[in-house]
Subunit: 284 residues, 2 copies
């Protein structure tokens, strides 16, 4: 008789023992819960890649700074479990802080250079928390595939760098960003937006569409395109953290746009910090 799915696991040791005894391939999606269509697209991709799908739900305190939104981060585990049940997920790993960071914890995994730019400038300890928790999760679950969204593009690149440098055997796969119908990138933090802010927040995607349009019309200077994006965002009451044109592999800033580069940005709408990005392409 099969257990009802998904099986909910709270204990690190139990999750690790289950995973070490599985003979099937494992696809893993790490999340902080409050799931939306972006997360669910990763689960679907995991099901396509692997025989067993495991989703973790854990709001990792070490990737929040003291002045950030850890305590108010949205949570709805019952709804999350229901959504994952509908997708026939095999296991949900749902550990406590005491399980993940027991007393006396002192080990950190850190990636240099590419964690100090873009989101790392305003969130100086964020990526160290991300790389540490994901290293732990990969050691617990030992997945064949880990699926991450391209919405957090820098996070994806940082984790791929960590996976390569530390010789994790897991293949770390980036999946496309998922948008609401009107273009807003899906994010658990969209919940923070008031109705007016929800409208204003469209300026992130609209500024990226503008950049693609200007590039398609022949403009290539990053400074000019970023200036046009700034105008659009500021007109919509957005407060810019950064807008950068970057090389997709190195994350280095580019003075000139080229096909395949990416524009990444972080913008405050009211008190809510939102991120978005697009890959710039030549269109025929």
């Amino acid at each position: 008789m099969n257990s009802p799915k998904p099986v909910l696991i709270h204990s690190v040791k139990e999750m690790q023992t289950i995973c070490r005894n599985l003979s099937q391939t494992i696809g893993f999606v790490p999340t902080m819960g409050y799931l939306h269509e972006g997360h669910l697209s990763l689960v679907k991709a995991a099901k396509d890649k692997a025989e067993i799908v495991i989703v973790s739900i854990y709001v990792n305190p070490t990737q929040f700074s003291p002045n950030e939104d850890l305590s108010s981060y949205p949570r709805d585990p019952d709804r999350d479990i229901q959504l994952l049940s509908e997708l026939d997920v095999d296991y949900i790993f749902f550990p406590s802080n005491e399980e993940m960071y027991p007393a006396g914890f002192k080990t950190w995994v850190a990636v240099e250079e590419i964690t100090q730019i873009l989101c790392g400038k305003s969130r100086s300890t964020h990526f160290k928390g991300v790389t540490t928790i994901v290293a732990k999760l990969m050691n617990i679950i030992d997945p064949d595939f880990m699926l991450l969204g391209e919405k957090d593009f820098q996070q994806l690149k940082v984790l791929q760098q960590m996976g390569k440098d530390l010789n994790f055997s897991t293949e770390i796969i980036g999946c496309p960003l998922i948008r609401e119908k009107d273009g807003l990138a899906m994010s658990s933090r969209n919940k923070y937006l008031s109705p007016q802010e929800r409208k204003d927040a469209l300026c992130l995607h609209n500024s990226l569409l503008l950049a693609q349009k200007l590039f398609s019309e022949g403009m290539t200077a990053s400074s000019k395109i970023i200036a046009a994006m700034r105008d659009l965002i500021v007109q919509n009451k957005g407060r810019i953290d950064y807008i950068e044109v970057i090389d997709t592999d190195s994350l280095e800033s580019l003075d000139e746009l080229r096909s395949g580069c990416r524009i990444v940005l972080a913008v405050y709408i009211g008190k809510t910090r939102l991120i978005d990005n697009v890959m710039i392409k030549y269109y025929q």
Copy 2:
């Protein structure tokens, strides 16, 4: 037909693929080569614990400071392979620097607090190099057991802390320090000693024997026992880096010796830095 053993593997990818496809238990001994009886005792312990034994030989550059002995560190791979062959080791992992630290490498694993004391005071980046390379080796080999000598007692504790904090599934086992017949702790660095220094170097072990003797006679104040050890070492031309009485679990300094505590020390004999330690016991 079985391949001749041990099989020598230079490529990370090949080693990882082999290990991921083994169904037997794996015992792993990481070394920097130039093997002595201390290393070989770890290999024998690995054979007792596991079905397959893998030994790595890699002089890890990131655990040496610029002013240390990386380039002169003793090497004799042919003899190492012969010794491991006699012990029926299954695989020797013998990677190049380019395999282990390819261009663009940027990820580090670091343990806080217990890496900043004892050997970490004079070798500030040493343990970061050790934890990073061992995390890599554990991800490549995915051993059930990793065997380490208690001669590098702080290193053993640091790696056990890392293994626990990052949820490595490997059991990290400490094995007894092995001594020459006259009591000198075996070390690849003993090769650096001149004949006179080789005699002087006995002061490390003799000072530890003295400490045990004083404790057995009823002396418990760490300050008094360390003072007696200092006198003995200085009389033998040793230059003391540190002598500490520590708690075996926390590595914290103790003001009073107690049964089960450990005395650890680092002493320069000429230009060669040697370490040693003993566990202090009540004897009936």
